[in-house]
């Protein structure tokens, strides 16, 4: 991993969870856009970035011993892979899934606005 990428990862891990999830949600939105455009290569690229960010969030949750957050992040990761790269066996409603991230983005924006 390049030095700048590692620095970005460290900075990401230090962000509040809401901000992390907002960023992951952005990649999920982009992946949804490309899925609707039937562009699997771009879907994969977006999800690869989303997974990288998610794994950083998981690492942070593990470091901070946030058991509930850890469990939820691992589940979210599995669901993301199932919908975008699998067969949607969990029958995800993508609008609901995107809404899930939107709530975090709103929370992050509200907090910043304070």
């Amino acid at each position: 991993m390049t030095r700048s990428r590692k620095t970005l990862q460290e900075r990401f891990e230090q962000m509040p969870l809401a901000e992390q999830m907002g960023n992951i949600g952005s990649e999920v939105s982009r992946a949804t856009y490309f899925k609707n455009k039937n562009n699997p290569e771009q879907v994969f690229n977006c999800i690869a970035r989303a997974l990288e960010l998610t794994d950083s969030s998981i690492k942070a949750a593990q470091k901070n011993k946030l058991r509930g957050t850890l469990k939820e992040l691992c589940l979210m990761r599995e669901v993301m892979c199932d919908y975008f790269l699998g067969n949607n066996e969990y029958n995800i409603n993508i609008k609901s899934f995107q809404n899930y991230f939107t709530q975090f983005a709103i929370a992050a924006a509200l907090k910043k606005g304070k």
């Binding site: 997974l51 998981i58 850890l70 691992c74 589940l75 599995e78 892979c81 790269l85």
Partner: protein
């Protein structure tokens, strides 16, 4: 869900049915030689092992079919295995050596 120290084949077979008819989901920590089995989702076992100190990059999801033999006994497939950063772009473990490592750990627990 539990970490397996030692288990007989009969005990493995008895484990089926709780979540899946003929299969048990598992996650292996290849660095520490840990096998954890039996949950509805691989992500549940993964978070359990992460909580216990395992590192994400060492955890790989499998399915054990205790009523089958040979190469069908372990299927190296799980959504948690999709890890582009580790060059595994599929839910199936791509690296042959890694598969061997996983199999060695699984079989070492079966008495």
């Amino acid at each position: 869900m539990k970490i397996i120290e030692k288990i007989t084949l009969k005990e493995l077979q008895a484990m089926t049915g709780e979540y899946y008819d003929d299969m048990i989901k598992g996650v292996v920590d290849v660095r520490n030689g840990i096998l954890a089995l039996n949950a509805a989702l691989h992500s549940e076992i993964k978070s359990f092992l992460l909580d216990g100190g395992s590192a994400q990059e060492d955890l790989w999801g499998i399915n054990i079919f205790p009523f089958l033999e040979g190469e069908d006994f372990i299927v190296y497939e799980s959504l948690i295995n999709i890890r582009p950063a580790q060059n595994n772009r599929s839910n199936i473990v791509q690296d042959g050596n890694l598969k061997k490592q996983i199999a060695k750990i699984v079989h070492s627990k079966i008495i």
